[in-house]
């Protein structure tokens, strides 16, 4: 993921391959067509889920090949939310492109912004001042909690537990209030700037974060009371969607999905960025690689994020919040790949600069896109009712997959 080609020309629209096709591989759709069902009891049939479906978390179309009740093959058709973000990136200046990255993983916009700003800072060979880095860490960890809360609520809702959704959104509301106080927006925050931050931390930021973190422990206990030891929850999630560590690495899966399969890999520890090297936190891993382990891993990650926030607000350094980068950004020609640990996995930015105010190429490696590749492996052999649980446990956001 690092080599660029010299003389690489920009592709015209229309030359890009259709999303979902892989060169050299016959996709599932040419083998079995979605036929009109006249006979029940047919041994193999192909059914279609989505793109409009309450549980696919966006516009995702899943073709399932069934043998009776069991899934024996699947194909995800994506591209319904493709907005040409990477192409747009070639026609905007570096600062102008920053709001666009928020809209990819719209659930965790702050992380997207962090990755992008740090990638451009790497190109410019500048470092954000310490104060900016710490505040960035606090906001990103709060965003991680918010993203996991949304995941938990919707995942539980798909499996049938109606109540955790509202409890999770109650907490998420607190976090979004903090974001709104900080930068004026709740969802697509554009919180960071290239070189640091634009807005100084508002007066009560530390108090707000501290109050949220103090309340949060009892709230997590609420969610766990409802789900963790619940017989029905265990029955629906244990042993469902198992992904072995070898498979996870082979598919390039990252994030909580990888950690639940037992691989202890977190970019915050392996290649620290922002202020993560200053704080002590654990990397939770699972053992079985099933849906239950992914649930436990994300719950523990929320607790660890809370710990990072508490450590960070104790000691926010004073000083400037924006490095001297100038109004017009013209990074020297070159390329950079910078990856961060977004809530959903490794979010990577590969930026190629040709010395002008607009990047030559902005390529985004979305974690959900790569994680979705493992869906086929995870869903085979399961019943149709488990498909929804497995889609939920991957924690995908279509905005990020399709860009």
């Amino acid at each position: 993921m690092g080599e660029g080609e010299s003389g690489h020309r920009k592709r015209a629209i229309g030359e890009y391959r259709t999303a979902g096709e892989v060169e050299g591989e016959t996709p599932l759709s040419t083998e079995v067509t979605t036929e009109h069902i006249t006979q029940l009891g047919a041994d193999e049939l192909v059914i279609n889920m989505g793109p409009q479906h309450p549980s696919t978390h966006g516009v995702l179309r899943v073709k399932l090949k069934l043998d009776g009740e069991r899934v024996i093959g699947s194909e995800c058709v994506i591209g319904y939310l493709h907005r040409g973000v990477e192409k747009i990136g070639e026609n905007r200046t570096y600062q102008q492109f920053a709001p666009y990255v928020d809209r990819m993983d719209y659930v965790a916009a702050v992380s997207n912004g962090l990755g992008y700003c740090e990638a451009i800072e790497k190109l410019l060979v500048v470092e954000a001042p310490p104060r900016a880095r710490v505040i960035r860490t606090i906001l990103t960890e709060l965003q991680r909690i918010a993203s996991h809360l949304l995941w938990l609520g919707t995942h539980a809702l798909d499996i049938g537990a109606l109540t955790p959704l509202f409890y999770c959104f109650r907490e998420r509301e607190e976090i979004l209030k903090i974001f709104e106080k900080y930068c004026g927006a709740r969802l697509t925050t554009h919180a960071f700037r290239i070189g640091g931050l634009q807005y100084e931390a508002y007066d009560t930021l530390e108090k707000d974060v501290e109050r949220f973190c103090k309340d949060f422990t009892s709230r997590i206990v609420e969610y766990e009371d409802l789900l963790t030891q619940n017989r029905i929850w265990l029955g629906r999630t244990k042993g469902v969607g198992i992904l072995s560590a070898a498979d996870a690495i082979a598919y390039g899966v990252t994030g909580p999905v990888l950690r639940a399969s037992g691989v202890k890999w977190d970019i915050r520890k392996a290649m620290p960025y922002a202020a993560y090297d200053q704080y002590k936190f654990e990397i939770p891993t699972g053992t079985a690689g099933d849906t239950y382990d992914r649930y436990m891993v994300r719950m523990e990650e929320m607790r660890q994020s809370r710990l990072i926030c508490l450590q960070a607000i104790e000691n926010i350094p004073t000083g400037p919040i924006l490095a001297k980068v100038g109004k017009v950004l013209k990074p020297p020609a070159g390329e950079v790949y910078h990856a961060i640990e977004a809530p959903k996995g490794e979010l990577g930015y590969y930026v190629v600069s040709d010395g002008t105010v607009q990047p030559y190429r902005v390529r985004i490696r979305p974690p959900s896109f790569v994680n979705l590749e493992a869906f086929d492996r995870m869903v085979r052999g399961h019943l149709v009712a488990d498909v929804v649980a497995i889609i939920g446990t991957l924690d995908i956001v279509l905005g990020e997959i399709d860009r």
């Binding site: 069902i37 029940l40 059914i47 889920m49 309450p54 549980s55 399932l64 009740e69 539980a156 809702l157 798909d158 499996i159 049938g160 537990a161 109606l162 109540t163 959704l165 509202f166 409890y167 109650r170 409802l226 789900l227 619940n230 029905i232 929850w233 029955g235 629906r236 244990k238 042993g239 198992i242 992904l243 072995s244 560590a245 070898a246 996870a248 690495i249 639940a260 399969s261 037992g262 691989v263 891993t285 699972g286 053992t287 079985a288 690689g289 099933d290 382990d293 019943l383 149709v384 009712a385 488990d386 498909v387 929804v388």
Partner: protein
């Protein structure tokens, strides 16, 4: 003409109470079911840290009427290749069976449509079993593969749990000795103890089976929206869907009433035969007075004039009901109505508690997958209910051998209940062991294990 008119007058004089009950059931029950839905939405909101419907009417109390109006004026969409006769018939069968089952139930000693029939409980169970046709035919008439699969699944679930429910009822009937509803409640009065206390395993089994019978969470996979198979109700729009919905909530009321009659003492107050506890007869009045007082306290805190007037009206209504409940206890001329009026209150209170439990479970528990659901029914509930019948039978024989009556019967049935509990735990653990997937460590091959 004279003899015909005379015959009609005779008929009316004899049967005016059942006829009135019948009219009330058919005319009022849609409204009552609508308000049960509103109660469920408000309860759900309360448990989910929100408010629920608040806009239509004060505190959302006119919401069911708005919903009913909306459903009535909706376009009636009929799928193209569907079977017209069956499409029309399916919701009608569901609702008809549910409403007819209500005819066999008694709120008080005199409030019963099918008065004093010999086969009371069996009638209710049998007629509500006919509701399965409404589901199966509804799925068929939709002319959609997914609806049909959902309908067949739903009816398979209903049929499976009917067996468990029936065996649980048998355990209760062993104590009662009769199928007649009035006689069952009278047996509980003469025994002095509710049959649910005598056989808690039967009550528990019936509770779980009745949740599955009415397609409620956690057994509502066939009608959940996030599932792939769409469910039998999908193609029915507007009023037809309202009929299905009405049938579901009426079924809930029916199973709650059956459980109350057989296990919770019907229209008896707690400790009905203990006469030094007769002051409990004032409890209904006290409860309504407390609710009225609470409404009065909240009147000044209401946001607008309309809301304040409304709260006052509710408080006044509570006080009026309290007076009505007080009259049979105090006034000697109203004594014959005591069992009827107070009995109705206790019956409705118990049914409400049972329904509250249904709703509480719906908001708390996730959904079972269909195969897990069927496994639970066949591998756990049916064996448990059969074992329970055996144990209750043995307890009864022991009881009659030692001449145990009333409360003393608990001496014989409590060991039976304990053994039943042990059997339940054993059954559950056996099922866990045979079904649990022994998942190897996912990272074993990666970390060189």
């Amino acid at each position: 003409m004279q003899p015909a008119v005379q015959a009609t007058m005779e008929f009316l004089k004899l049967y005016w109470v059942p006829l009135l009950c019948g009219v009330i059931i058919v005319a009022l029950l849609p409204l009552i079911a609508g308000y049960i839905v509103l109660v469920e939405r408000k309860l759900m909101a309360d448990m989910q840290v929100r408010l629920g419907p608040m806009r239509v009417g004060p505190h959302g109390l006119l919401q069911p009427i708005a919903d009913a109006l909306k459903l009535l004026i909706k376009e009636d969409i009929i799928p193209e290749n569907s079977d017209a006769l069956v499409f029309w018939l399916a919701p009608v069968l569901s609702v008809g069976a549910a409403l007819l089952a209500l005819a066999g139930l008694a709120i008080g000693p005199a409030f019963q449509v099918a008065q004093d029939i010999n086969i009371g409980i069996l009638f209710v169970v049998g007629i509500s079993a006919m509701g399965i046709f409404g589901i199966v035919l509804g799925g068929w008439a939709s002319n959609s593969h997914y609806s049909l699969m959902g309908a067949l699944r739903s009816s398979a679930q209903l049929v499976s749990y009917e067996t468990a429910a029936g065996m649980a009822l048998v355990a209760g009937l062993l104590f009662a000795g009769t199928l007649n509803i009035k006689a069952i409640v009278d047996a509980q009065q003469s025994a002095g103890v509710w049959f649910g206390l005598l056989s808690p395993v039967a009550l528990f089994t019936y509770l779980v089976a009745s949740i599955a019978e009415t397609n409620r969470a956690p057994f509502d996979l066939p009608e959940a929206e996030s599932e792939l198979v769409a469910g039998y109700m999908t193609e029915f729009s507007g009023f037809r869907w309202a009929l299905y919905f009405l049938a579901e909530y009426t079924n809930m009321v029916v199973v709650a009433s059956v459980a109350t009659t057989l296990f919770l003492g019907g229209w008896l107050r707690p400790f009905a035969s203990v006469h030094w506890l007769d002051f409990l007869d004032y409890f209904p009045t006290l409860l309504m007075v407390l609710i009225g007082v609470y409404c009065l306290i909240r009147v000044p805190k209401q946001p607008s004039r309309v809301h304040q007037l409304f709260m006052l009206a509710v408080a006044a209504l509570c006080f009026v009901v309290a007076l009505v409940l007080l009259a049979p206890v105090i006034l000697p001329i109203a004594h014959p109505f005591k069992a009827g009026i107070l009995g109705s209150f206790w019956f409705l209170l118990k049914v409400s508690l049972y329904l509250y439990l249904f709703m509480w479970l719906r908001f708390t528990l996730p959904r079972y997958r269909f195969d897990q659901l069927m496994r639970l029914g066949w591998h756990f509930l049916i064996p448990l209910s059969i074992i329970n019948v055996l144990l209750v039978g043995i307890a009864l024989i022991a009881g009659s051998y030692f001449q145990l009556q009333g409360w003393a019967l608990l001496l014989a049935t409590t060991p039976a209940a304990v053994i039943g509990l042990v059997a339940a735990i054993v059954l559950l653990s056996v099922e866990q062991k045979t079904h649990s997937a022994a998942a190897p460590s996912a990272a074993a091959d990666f970390y060189g294990g």
